[in-house]
């Protein structure tokens, strides 16, 4: 027994040592050393959801960053180095990652984290420490209001949903609506809150409000109830994964009314999953892959050759975000946290692949989303 | 009268394990409970300690009715038992086992156990001293720090007795204490039980080792198929034709046990 004890102890100490030794390691993404005169060198920390159930989002986002980084560094002027940390979608890990990044004095700004829940924890900390932080996918309410160092370039639900709702209501002469949303997810819950507010503003009748939970695959009970109440329109605050299945089951049941979805509902995957059943979905988004803007088409082409798949909204937002950072650095003229914050706050009408971009006084997005609808299995601009 | 068992019946799903058994045990005696396997001896122990209730009947302990009282309260009143298939706290040391036995004779709660006021330290010291003394009594003084599952079989049996005595019982129930012991060990056991008796403890013993029972007990009850077959002094029992028949008829069982 003693022998075993001794061996285990040695093993434990060895494990601990390995861990401690590995603690300092960074996964550093640097490309191009170009240290010519006039180039601003800057390190930017990225916190992203790279492992776990939402890893697909984090992957698209970091791909967007990397693509933009390559282009920006090739152009000269600004040379950006990305330091990427995983948050696994958890607040504690996001906070740890942010501390790790913030304590590196060379890092001038943070991008991410992916989820609004994470931003709620990381944002105040970044603000306290005076480092600009920009969310590229955080759409919940109140994020930029956390503090003056907190920005975002993702369109909040409060901006996107009303636009889509207005257009759909006008077109179909909607009087009665049904709501369905995922009540255990911060993203869909906050989308629902916006919908409810807007429904009240527009004076529509709510026939029923239904909820669903993560991991559920049967929505028939909720949909049967909705069907029985005959709404003119269904407002669905769901992520595309669940949303597509909801539409599929609804169409199978014989529900033909249009759906309006939130930001999370906007993905080519909806068509992929639901097929023809996806027809009649309305979403408002800054991102439209069929846009005839050469910049957009070039981005899609490059992204596809680099990563072998079509970029989604998250990749596009991340791509634009790094350009915004680069612009801020250029205007600031130096890689300094406070100077960068002030420069970011000043950004107006910057043309990106999502359109013309400005920050408002809080550091929130000012831009006009386009309303898309799915028709014949394709996203189209809805006029 | 230490214990009075009045008309106890126990049915298990229609099968009768004990039928109308009455026993009276006087203070200070060693009382034997014998009978072939399945006669209901251990069932009787379980009923006395209220591990399960009797179907009908009553038990009084010093004229106090104890049927329906929770097992740990029965120990509190002064009845403690050992088990046929040794049930020590196997990963505790010998000393700790006996100290657990003193549980119901000590009081320290969470806070005094943690903050250790003087009263707790004195109590803990007393428990420890008592445990050491009892280990000496059962001849295990060299094994304080041995984890009890590493003790030899006979030692485990003796440790169980020490643990039971630590609860200061007025009545001690021993369930086949000599099982698996060799002759020397059995002789030691005899001395031990006599010493326990000398401490003023009444003993009720289930045992298959007939020479030991006959030598040890003041009075004996024989159970057979859940019924009382005979009662009396060892001589009376040895000469009772019904008992002899019952035992001859089930000799093999006896051998196995």
């Amino acid at each position: 027994m003693r022998q075993i004890g001794k061996k285990s102890l040695v093993l434990i100490s060895a494990l601990m040592l390995v861990l401690l030794a590995a603690c300092g390691g960074n996964s550093s993404q640097s490309s191009g050393e170009g240290d010519k005169g006039g180039t601003i060198n800057a390190k930017i920390g990225v916190i992203s959801y790279l492992t776990g159930p939402g890893a697909a989002y984090g992957e698209a986002i970091t791909n967007g960053f990397k693509l933009a980084q390559k282009e920006i560094n090739e152009k000269g002027k600004v040379n950006i180095e990305l330091v990427i940390e995983d948050s696994a979608g958890k607040q504690e890990q996001a906070l740890s990652a942010s501390q790790k990044l913030m304590s590196d004095d060379e890092i001038v700004a943070l991008l991410g984290p992916t989820l609004s829940t994470e931003m709620n924890v990381v944002g105040p900390e970044a603000d306290l420490n005076g480092i600009p932080i920009m969310g590229t996918s955080t759409t919940a309410e109140g994020i930029p209001q956390i503090g003056e160092y907190v920005f975002r370039n993702s369109i909040p639900e409060a901006l996107a949903i009303p636009v889509a709702m207005e257009k759909a209501v006008k077109k179909y002469d909607v009087k009665k609506v049904a709501l369905i949303y995922g009540n255990d997810d911060v993203f869909t819950k906050s989308g629902f809150d916006t919908m409810k507010e807007e429904v009240e503003k527009m004076d529509l009748e709510v026939v029923t409000t239904q909820t669903f939970q993560k991991g559920q695959s049967d929505y028939n009970a909720q949909l049967t109830k909705i069907k029985g109440l005959n709404p003119d329109l269904i407002l669905a605050s769901a992520l595309y994964n669940e949303g597509a299945v909801i539409m599929d089951q609804a169409r199978k049941m014989g529900i033909t009314v249009p759906f309006v979805g939130g930001n999370g509902f906007n993905s080519p995957e909806v068509i992929n999953i639901a097929g023809k059943a996806a027809d009649g979905l309305f979403v408002a988004t800054p991102w439209f892959s069929e846009k005839e803007d050469p910049k957009v088409q070039e981005f899609i082409k490059k992204y596809e050759t680099e990563y072998g798949k079509k970029p989604d909204q998250f990749a596009a937002q991340a791509y634009d975000a790094l350009y915004i950072m680069a612009e801020g650095l250029k205007n600031a003229g130096e890689a300094d946290r406070d100077a960068l914050r002030d420069a970011l706050a000043e950004i107006k009408d910057l043309e990106g692949i999502l359109g013309s971009f400005s920050f408002d006084k809080d550091g929130d997005v000012e831009m006009d989303p386009i309303v898309l609808t799915i028709k014949d299995g394709k996203f189209q601009i809805f006029e | 009268m230490v214990l009075e068992i009045k008309n106890i019946c126990k049915n298990f799903g229609g099968i009768s394990a004990l039928t109308d058994v009455s026993i009276r045990i006087n203070e200070g005696e060693i009382y034997g409970l014998i009978g072939p396997n399945g006669a209901g001896k251990t069932t009787m122990f379980n009923i006395i300690t209220n591990m399960f209730p009797p179907t009908t009947g009553d038990i009084t302990f010093f004229n106090r009715r104890i049927t329906g009282i929770k097992p740990h309260n029965i120990t509190d009143l002064g009845i403690c038992r050992t088990f046929q298939n040794i049930r020590l706290f196997s990963q505790m040391t010998t000393l700790e086992n006996v100290m657990v036995g003193a549980h119901c004779r000590s009081k320290a709660g969470v806070l005094s156990g943690v903050f250790r006021p003087k009263s707790q330290r004195t109590e803990e010291q007393q428990i420890r001293e008592k445990a050491i003394e009892l280990l000496e009594l059962v001849g295990l003084s060299e094994y304080h720090d041995v984890v009890s599952e590493n003790l030899a079989y006979g030692q485990q049996r003796r440790l169980e007795i020490a643990r039971a005595i630590a609860s200061d019982p007025k009545l001690l129930l021993l369930d086949e204490p000599a099982a698996g012991m060799n002759e020397t060990e059995t002789a030691n056991l005899f001395d031990l039980i006599k010493q326990v008796q000398a401490r003023g403890v009444t003993v009720l013993i289930i045992e298959h080792d007939m020479p030991l029972v006959m030598k040890l007990c003041d009075r004996i009850t024989v159970l057979n198929f859940g019924k009382k077959l005979a009662e009396g002094t060892p001589e009376e029992i040895q000469n009772n034709p019904a008992v002899i028949e019952a035992y001859l008829g089930s000799e093999e069982d006896d051998e196995i046990a």
């Binding site: 559920q216 028939n220 009970a221 599929d248 | -």
Partner: protein, 294 residues
């Protein structure tokens, strides 16, 4: 509307029942709650998708592949997570529970890596066949699910009662040691049990994929916990109890949504667990002895 909800409830309940049958079989024979059963079910569903959507094979092949793969998973579960614990000194009865929780986490994350986190559509022309009865649309798949669940229940009951293998299974269930003394090859029986239970999970996986057109790695956990609730409701190790429990849970979930608050739908299963365990630990159909002594 009531009729439609009834159909929804029965469909959902039948699926729950098939999953619970797998749980109950393993518990009945081994006395182990297999927390990984939900994940094995999820793997079955993914196999269905790969076979029909990616490989474009016919549906019957999907069933065969799913049964084969889940059976292999079941074997591996037994071999690596259960067998090492059996007959070992000092292993607490909680060990298999913890070890199968380990398997469930492992499988869930493997499927994240293999299939991605998103939902996968299960597109099959067979799933589209439907009848119109008045304003109600009934899908053939819904009927099939109900029928299969009944057939599985009856087959399992019959098999346990009548056949030789079933008798051996029951002998094993009653007492592992006695069974092996009586000459039952307990090792083989245990492997067989876990494999059959897992294959049933695989079948359930494909049926769910067809009925709801949605398969994702997280579905295993949610279905698994529901299955757990059902076997507690119906009585551990009780085949008919699993069926009845499944239908009860499916119907009550559906009716909570229809006439109550859909937000509490997921809580029902757990409230059932708590109430049943406190009021009637042996389950509605269970015998008392099953719940005692463990």
């Amino acid at each position: 509307m009531l009729l439609e909800q009834l159909i929804n409830g029965i469909t959902l309940g039948s699926i729950y029942a098939i999953i619970a049958l797998g749980f109950t079989l393993v518990f009945g024979v081994l006395g182990i709650i297999n927390m990984a059963h939900g994940e094995i079910f999820m793997f079955g569903a993914f196999m269905g998708i790969i076979v029909t959507s990616t490989l474009k094979w016919p549906l019957w092949a999907a069933f065969l592949v799913a049964i084969a793969v889940t059976a292999i998973l079941g074997y591996m579960l037994e071999r690596f997570a259960l067998r090492p614990l059996r007959g070992k000194q000092g292993v607490s009865h909680l060990a298999p529970l913890i070890s199968t929780i380990g398997v469930s986490i492992l499988l869930e994350n493997i499927s994240h890596h293999l299939f991605g986190a998103g939902n996968h559509p299960f597109r099959n022309s067979f799933a589209e066949i439907n009848f119109q009865i008045g304003s109600i649309t009934v899908y053939l798949v819904q009927i099939i699910i109900f029928v299969i669940s009944i057939i599985l229940m009856m087959a399992l009951s019959y098999w346990l009662l009548r056949t030789k293998a079933g008798k051996a299974l029951r002998a094993t269930a009653e007492n592992l040691e006695t069974a092996s003394i009586l000459g039952v090859n307990t090792k083989k029986i245990i492997i067989l049990t876990v494999i059959i239970a897992s294959a049933m999970g695989g079948i359930a996986g494909i049926l769910v994929g067809m009925a709801f057109n949605s398969v994702n790695p997280q579905m295993g956990l949610s279905m698994g916990l529901k299955g757990l609730a059902i076997i507690i409701l119906g009585g551990m190790g009780n085949v008919k109890g699993a069926m009845a429990g499944g239908l009860i849970l499916g119907l009550s979930e559906t009716f909570v949504v229809a006439y109550g608050d859909s937000g509490y739908r997921d809580a029902i299963a757990f409230i059932i667990i708590i109430i049943i365990l406190l009021v009637r630990p042996q389950g509605i159909f269970g015998q008392k002895s099953a719940a005692e002594g463990r």
